[in-house]
Structure formats: structure tokens, C-alpha cells
Symmetry: C2
Amino acid sequence: MFNTARQIAAIPLFSGLSREQHEALSRIGVRRYSAKGERIFSEGDEGTGFYVVVSGRVKIFKISAEGKEQILHFFGPGECFGEVSVFTGRGFPADAVTAAQTMLLFFPRTSFVSLIGKDPALALNMLAQLSRRLRHFAGLIEDLSLKEVPGRLAKYLLYLSGRNGNAGAVELDVSKGQLASLLGTIPETLSRILAKMNRQGLIHSRGSQIRILDRPGLEAIAQEGKMLP
Amino acid sequence: MFNTARQIAAIPLFSGLSREQHEALSRIGVRRYSAKGERIFSEGDEGTGFYVVVSGRVKIFKISAEGKEQILHFFGPGECFGEVSVFTGRGFPADAVTAAQTMLLFFPRTSFVSLIGKDPALALNMLAQLSRRLRHFAGLIEDLSLKEVPGRLAKYLLYLSGRNGNAGAVELDVSKGQLASLLGTIPETLSRILAKMNRQGLIHSRGSQIRILDRPGLEAIAQEGKMLP
DNA sequence: CGCTCCGTTGAAACGGTTCAACCCACGTGG
DNA sequence: CCACGTGGGTTGAACCGTTTCAACGGAGCG
């Protein structure tokens, strides 16, 4: 239990809260362990609460009528998901499955809402959280409708590079099939574009290891949304 | 001033609040009038507060490098926008211009945040608001990446019909060019698809007036995301 | 060894965009 | 009143990026 309190203190959503709040949260939070590939919830399921990732990874996605998937988000340690249905009172807007062995904390809707009612700081944290999410979605929508696949890929590679201090070498943290779904395309197309970027000397990729050779070139593609034939 | 308080009481975001809260809000809210086509803010502008539409209409959109626009949202009376940058502290994630003669209320960031700190009900309303927005975006992302243009158009027509009691006749509330941008496509494509839907007896359209002739057919297209050749 | 899963490559098909021309309703000004 | 330009909408033909379908290669594993 005390362990739970420590884990809770490490969650950004709960940063800046008092020790009492952390204790209260640890009392209402429920642990849940999942192997890789387990389903947390499905689109439309009634939302009885939300989750925080303690360790592991969770994939949030939508499935089309023909079974094609569009990944909305990967969530790692310290990030939360499923809050939307807590506040709208309607079903989950997407599916969630674990992308690795994962430990979660589940916070039931009613007790959490009453906790928010007592501490505005928690509410403000949650508002910031949802606002960041909205910003991310706005970017995703922009990319999907205004950029072509090479632009989205270039942006993702630069994002990965930026995450480890603008390193020239990056490692894909998802399979290429999953990356394709994250970029709103299919594995074949992703493969072809990676090959083309290699040919043009923009990158050097072998497996999931990718070296960025021409950063300005990639940045131009990420901006314009497309690359030369 | 009293007039402002009445307008505030009619805003869903502020429903369920006490009279004192409404008065406090009317004290910090600033009126702003705009003619059609005026810019409220641009992407990247520092967010010093957020807006509520009292009357008129506002368009929120993204612009690509080549100037193509993707509309994220139209906001009408009672709806608010620009809150995201209030809680993330970063610039606005998109552009906003008026789509008609419009009256707005502007709430400065700092005073509004302090108001939230005093009334959890206001915070919960705002959380519900952002959650609905997220749900809308998730749907938009799904449509853009998983459905083709006919599917999005069918869904939009059914949405319009649903707004006035599943009427068989609907009137487009935006120009076709704007509708194209809302659906993530261009006027030419929209025009062709409308013509095709006419040919197939799904709808009968003349100008901005559209009669739905085959609702089950449209629903199937909205579901599947595409139509027969 | 043979199986499956993931990734790659090729050729054909498709949906959508681009570019261009054209129509029409509308308002302006000679 | 009519000539004229303008903006929104429509249509056609060429083009382009992406998807689809199919085949294939290699890594991992029972």
C-alpha cells in the first residue's frame, strides 16, 4: 500500500498534490496486471473509471469496419488514459490493449470525481492533461489530412531523435507494422518510403535501427508533407 | 453588465453554477464583436485566455504548408474555444476566424484559473467540455484515416438530419467549399460525390437543399466508409 | 525441418487531387 | 440596361500517391 503511494507520487497527473491527497488516491486506486496483448476495454464499453500506466505500455486505437486499425496513442509509465468517459459519462471512445506486460492503477469514477471536488489542484492537473491530449489530436488530424505519409514519417523520426537529445541514431520503439498504423498507413507503404529515404541519402536504416543522415532534408519533408520522387 | 450575467447563465459550460459564480464570471468576461471573416487568433499565438461564442459562428482550422485548410470545428452560440492553451500554457494549436458576424466573451487566463480553483463544479464542467472535444477529435481521426470521403459525407448528412428530428430534408449550414474542408477534401471531389449520390438515388440535392431519399443506404455508406462505383 | 510472423518488393487498380475550362447568379459601373 | 468581373459550384482529363493483391525472403521456434 505504501508502495502504491510512492508510485502515485511519481505520476505527473498527481504532481504538486499534498501527501494527504496522495494517500487518498492510493486508497481508491486498484492495481491491475496484464500480460502483453490483453484487452483493457473496448470502444463503447461503459467507463467506470480511468487508468494510469505504472509500467509497461498500452495502445489506444480505433478499428474500421474492414478491420484496419488507426493507433491514436501509445501510453507509457506515468501516463493515464480512459479519462474521457469519466467526464462525459458515455462509453469509451476507442479500444485499449496492452502492448507489453503492464501494470496499471485503476481509479473508479465516482471516488475520483469526489476527490477532484475537494482539490482544485487535481482538477487543474487533469485539465492540463486533457488539453495536452487535445493538442496532440489536433496535430494528428493536421498530419492525416494535410500531409502525405513521407511527411508523417519524417516527423516521427525527428520526434524520436528529439526524445534522446537529437541523437543521429534512433531505434524504433514499435514494430514497423504498428508504426504504419500509427502513421495512418499500411506496412507496404511504410516499407517503400523507408527504402526511398534510404536511396535519397536521408537516412540509413537497418531493421529497427535508423541513422539520420540529412536532418535538414527530413525537416523539410516534415514541413512540406511530401518528398521528391 | 446584468445582460452579460444573463448571457453567461445560458452557456452550458457555466450551467449548474451559483448566482455568485455567474456574477464573478460576468465581471471577468470581456465582450468582443467581430465582423465576418475576422481573425480571432492564429496558431502559435500566446494564449492569454479563452472565448465563448454568444452569437454568430467561429471556425477553427489548420493550414498546411501549401495553404490547404482542414477545419477542426465550427463553434456556435454557447460553445467555447481556445481553452487548450489556457491549461497547457503554450500557444494556440490552431487558427480561429469568424464565419459570420459574431459576439464573443473573452475570459482572461489568470482570473479564470483562479475562479476554477474556488469552484470545483466549474472545473468539472470544463473537464466534461474538454472530454467531449476529445471524443469529437477521436471520431474525426477515425473518419479521416479509416473512411473515404463518401463515408464522411454520408455521416455528415445524417448528422444534419439528426439535428432536426431526422428530417428527410436538410439544408447545408456552410458553403460547399467549407464543407469540403470540414470533410478533409476539396470542392471538386465533394461535388462529384454529391453527383454520384444523386445518380444512385441516395439523395436529391439542389443547391444547399438536400433531400435524403435512401436513409438505410446512406447509413450503410457511413458505416462502411465507401460506396459502390 | 517446416512452420509462422514480419518485412520487403513488384504490378495493377483505385481514390483523390490537380489543372483547366465552363456555367451561373450576382453586383457594379459605364 | 447591359457589359463586365467575381466567386461559388460543376465537369472532364491527366496525374499521383496509396492501397491492394500476390509472391518472396529471412528470422525465430517448436
